[in-house]
Symmetry: C2
Subunit: 127 residues, 2 copies
């Protein structure tokens, strides 16, 4: 990774909101602190979904449909440039069945109100 420890820590703090406050509780309100207001997500088999309200609706349905119990997010590679961080990461989702699903992702990060947030978020299974 070619990012500073400070940026890496900021990214971990935002990821922790998703992992600890959203996935296990299925409460999408904390996504205000994860996604920029005009963020875009690009889920597999879906058109681009834009804006935090639409993204919240997606995750409300998506976490339930997957029966996702917990998730881990890990940066594999990241580069910071100006106001943007580009990141490739690895996610592991643990489902209600106990199965683990590994997913890769690209997140483009931007700062909003002093917090680094997900601005573009795209993921797909590794197999």
């Amino acid at each position: 990774m070619s990012i500073s420890p400070e940026l890496a820590a900021a990214m971990k703090a935002t990821n922790a909101v998703f992992v600890n406050e959203v996935v296990p509780t299925r409460d999408v309100a904390p996504l205000d602190r994860v996604y920029t207001a005009d963020a875009r997500i690009l889920p597999p088999g879906s058109p681009v979904i834009q804006g935090r309200d639409a993204i919240k609706a997606f995750w409300t349905a998506g976490i339930a449909a997957l029966d996702c119990k917990s998730a881990t997010l890990e940066t594999v590679h990241a580069e910071a440039s100006g106001d943007v961080i580009a990141e490739i990461g690895k996610a592991v989702l643990t489902l209600g069945s106990g199965a683990n699903v590994e997913v890769k992702y690209v997140v483009v990060w931007k700062q909003e109100d002093g917090t680094w947030k997900w601005h573009y978020d795209m993921w797909s299974p590794v197999a």
Copy 2:
């Protein structure tokens, strides 16, 4: 889009190499002018593939397996910051059967030897 006309033109020129010199000919040598040397691609159902040689091998097999005859690439949204451009785009692939497949993508661009190239490239079907 929040990028300059100059950057948009540079992106179109690189995309044109892929669309005009690679897809119809199935010659992957011009990908030297499309991907950075240490680029990473994130195809659906695959782990991350890193480095131009591995990426060339992927596209040699992939264009043939899809029987892809032509492609269009269109920027939907892009943001430039320092040495990086983050882009969301739309691709339409025309297959040998005549069917069109629509794909969305995120490309993170970097300059290499004065040319803007694809550094992270992730895509997936829209349906």
